[in-house]
């Protein structure tokens, strides 16, 4: 069993009971499969909002969704080391079955927290110098060409050199080259404490527990060129909780329809589709607009068109955008069609929905080639709105 960040794949499953969040599983019933390459398969079952079982099992039939990935990605996502969305989009996580069901699992468990172990002075030094290059602030070191040396004594101590040149930074063990400044400390623990903010450089120097050989100013500027070291043990001051204010904002509106859009909406009540025709270029506007944007003239002439026509193009929608006010999304997949109603020509199409069970039979048209013939299905209760037409359906 391989370990990633010191965590085994089975650790994730074994801790699921403890990490389960009933508030994130309200109303959920179902099984979720996990297929971790080279590690095995697990089935997580939730019944009526409680965690029923986590089992290592070869047969994943009956699961609402099966997620597959390698062990490192799986552990990484659960431990917060790997961005789940990125892994999914980059193809490292694959999901078969019900995507929406799988989505629910992310809310059902708290993040896996890596068990803290003691870090020795040596562990800290390796981590501190191991992260120097990634903490380097290249822009702050414009024009800088220097070497820092570190000579840290004691059983767990060691020597390092940090080269800064051409806005790049390189760390090597041992004192190399001719450092412009060597930071010397008799006890490496003092260095670790200084970096963790438990004591400060001035007092160490004053107390004679450390010295700087060479350019003292340069030594003091270390913090300008490197981001602060972050203690992996989360020592020191506890980080401030980031409060997020959740609020849905809406201001009620009363949208006027005006004489042009209004005439069109009134037409729908009487099962009439009215286009307005540009007096200059002759294009039919659906829905009608006050002006023809192309000709910059007012368009007052209405012509009844359709109601039947041919599909020129259909947007096959797999992902439904949420309604901005209610947050609700339309059931997918669905089809949004551009219908060239009888009496219209060229690109004067009318946009509406197609009957959901017919989306796979719709063919678009192009040039002389006509698309599927369709007719509107009228709403029995028509009020002068877009949904006076429920949708279009195939006209056989």
């Amino acid at each position: 069993m391989a370990e990633y960040w010191g965590i085994k794949v089975e650790d994730i499953f074994n801790t699921m009971k403890d990490r389960f969040r009933p508030e994130g599983a309200t109303g959920v019933t179902g099984s979720f499969g996990y297929d971790i390459a080279g590690e095995g398969k697990w089935k997580v079952s939730v019944y009526n909002g409680s965690l029923a079982a986590v089992e290592k099992i070869d047969n994943l039939t009956g699961c609402a969704s099966v997620m597959s990935s390698d062990g490192e990605t799986f552990v990484g996502v659960n431990a917060g080391k790997v961005d789940g969305t990125n892994a999914f989009m980059g193809g490292k996580i694959k999901v078969e079955g019900d995507m929406a069901a799988f989505g629910k699992t992310s809310k059902m468990f708290r993040k896996f927290v890596i068990k803290k172990k003691e870090m020795t002075v040596r562990d800290y030094l390796l981590d501190m110098f191991g992260t120097v290059e990634s903490r380097f602030k290249a822009d702050a070191a414009e024009g800088l060409d220097v070497i820092y040396g570190f000579d840290l004594g004691g059983d767990q101590g060691g020597k390092w050199s940090v080269f800064i040149k051409d806005k790049t930074c390189r760390v090597v063990t041992g004192i190399e080259g001719k450092p412009n400044a060597i930071i010397q400390l008799g006890d490496a623990k003092d260095y670790v404490d200084m970096i963790l903010g438990k004591n400060d450089a001035n007092s160490l120097l004053a107390a004679g527990r450390g010295a700087v050989i060479g350019d003292l100013n340069l030594a003091m500027k270390w913090g300008d060129y490197f981001d602060k070291y972050v203690d992996p043990m989360g020592g020191g001051v506890q980080e401030q909780e980031l409060i997020v204010l959740k609020k849905t904002i809406s201001v009620n509106q009363r949208f006027a329809s005006g004489p042009i859009m209004g005439k069109f909406l009134n037409g729908l009540k009487e099962k009439k589709i009215l286009a307005n025709k540009c007096p200059k270029c002759g294009r039919m506007q659906l829905p009608p607009r006050e002006m023809c944007a192309m000709c910059r003239v007012r368009v007052d002439d209405f012509v009844e068109v359709g109601p039947k026509g041919q599909v020129r193009y259909m947007e096959y929608v797999y992902y439904s955008s949420p309604d901005p006010l209610t947050g609700e999304a339309r059931e997918t997949p669905y089809g949004m069609v551009m219908v060239l109603l009888d009496g219209c020509k060229g690109n004067d199409v009318f946009m509406h929905l197609i009957r959901r069970d017919q989306i796979d039979q719709i063919k678009g048209g192009r040039n002389e080639k006509p698309g599927t013939r369709v007719r509107p299905v009228w709403n029995d209760k028509r009020v002068g709105s877009i949904f006076d037409i429920n949708y279009f359906e195939i006209d056989e």
């Binding site: 969305t85 990125n86 989009m89 980059g90 193809g91 694959k94 995507m99 290249a138 980031l242 997020v244 904002i249 509106q253 949208f255 329809s257 859009m261 909406l265 506007q285 829905p287 607009r289 944007a293 192309m294 020129r312 193009y313 947007e315 096959y316 929608v317 797999y318 992902y319 439904s320 955008s321 949420p322 309604d323 901005p324 006010l325 947050g327 949004m336 551009m338 060239l340 020509k345 060229g346 690109n347 199409v349 946009m351 509406h352 929905l353 678009g364 048209g365 192009r366 040039n367 709105s385 877009i386 949904f387």
Partner: protein, 399 residues
């Protein structure tokens, strides 16, 4: 009277960008803006005292802040200064750059600071975009900024296999570029040998537009400082000159492609490029420009738009992608930054295009700096119902 000579020259002298990310809960809106402002001031070696006018832009309904420049004064530093707010949708960032150019060139201000930002995680973005549509009709039908029509049109013209591979090839190139840009939001580490797999495995959003091919929703801010010729020469070792810009909108209805060759649909991108190049005497844009920072909301659109922006014919635009000529190191690198497909804090996005183009001219783009000298750069913005803005940037004042 045709387009007139500029009253005076204007240069970019300072640039600041935040890291783009889906998680900026650690800062509020003015604080995030302040990060970009501080970086730009530092880059220019200026303080707020030097700034005469602040120009602010984003989309109000994405964060539901009405007249946000009022509150954001805390982060923009506009107190005591002239301050205006100009917006144009997705193009807003580059509109801020155009407006800054106009304000400085007019002689009314010597130094102007433009700030574009968005905190998309604080609002419902697809909902926000859907709100763009007329409330009586299209709002009930629209699908945010998603459409599969470009993929459909592309496939109709060039066949399914070549089209899908070109779109994914573009996507992988952008991901490779994003990997070199520390500010980029999304960088997956995609490889070219994954193309066939991604065509099959990436979830479909709408038609043949797949999740991997669509831009992200990011938080972030960008700040750019503009100065008149005199000030720019005094204050900056590497001023980047704004040569010209053009804005072209389309009608309210989102009807961007035709179903019948007998009724061709005029394209804003081609129209904008034609007019801009004509009045600046540019005959061969792929030869003239050394880099293009393009607002690429989805890879299908991106490949197609290369044809319009570069005035190419037939399948020349696909070949540029297939031959990797748009990669850093290629003939005409496109989006060395990783583009919008990698990072999209909408109100900042189009200003980032200008900022990144300017960084390339300065030679300060770091790991994503293109290896040859950059003298002429092009930046674009996209928004609304296929609105476009183009801006030309130059290293030398010699046109």
């Amino acid at each position: 009277m045709a387009h007139r000579k500029k009253n005076r020259h204007v240069a970019i002298i300072g640039i600041g960008q935040t890291k783009f990310s889906s998680h900026r809960e650690d800062v509020n809106q003015p604080e995030m803006i302040h990060e970009a402002v501080s970086l730009a001031l530092k880059d220019a070696g200026l303080t707020m005292k030097d700034i005469e006018c602040v120009i602010h832009g984003n989309m109000e309904l994405f964060e539901m802040i009405h007249q946000p420049d009022l509150w954001h004064t805390l982060g923009t530093g506009a107190e005591g200064k002239d301050c205006i707010r100009i917006t144009t949708g997705g193009t807003v960032g580059i509109t801020l750059a155009c407006a800054s150019d106009n304000l400085v060139a007019s002689g009314m201000y010597d130094i102007v600071m433009a700030i574009g930002f968005e905190k998309l995680q604080e609002g419902n973005t697809t909902g926000g975009i859907t709100n763009m549509a007329d409330p009586l009709w299209f709002r009930n039908l629209q699908t945010g900024a998603l459409t599969g029509s470009k993929a459909y049109e592309f496939i109709t013209e060039f066949g399914e296999d070549r089209s899908k591979r070109a779109s994914l090839m573009y996507r992988v190139i952008m991901d490779k570029h994003a990997g070199l840009n520390p500010n980029a939001h999304r960088s997956f580490g995609l490889e070219f040998d994954q193309i066939d797999d991604l065509i099959k495995s990436s979830p479909k959003l709408i038609g043949d537009l797949k999740l991997i091919e669509m831009c992200s929703q990011s938080d972030g801010a960008c700040c750019v400082i503009f100065a008149c010729e005199k000030k720019a020469k005094e204050l900056s070792k590497k001023p980047v000159w704004i040569r010209d810009h053009i804005t072209v909108h389309r009608e309210e209805i989102f009807q961007i492609f035709g179903y019948d060759d007998a009724y061709p649909v005029m394209q804003t991108h081609r129209f904008a490029a034609e007019n801009l190049y004509k009045r600046n005497g540019i005959t061969n844009p792929t030869d003239y420009f050394d880099v293009f920072e393009m607002y690429d909301p989805a890879s299908w659109w991106a490949v197609d738009w290369l044809r319009d922006f570069f005035q190419l014919k037939g399948d020349e635009h696909i070949k540029l992608v297939e031959d990797k000529e748009i990669m850093i190191g290629g003939k005409i690198p496109v989006n060395p930054s990783g583009g919008v497909i990698a990072s999209n804090p909408i109100g900042a996005t189009a200003l980032v295009r200008v900022a990144e183009a300017a960084l390339q001219i300065r030679g300060d783009a770091g790991a994503h700096q293109i290896p040859k000298p950059v003298r002429h750069a092009l930046a674009s913005g996209f928004g609304g119902t296929l609105w476009t803005v183009l801006m030309m940037l130059e290293k030398e004042l010699n046109w």
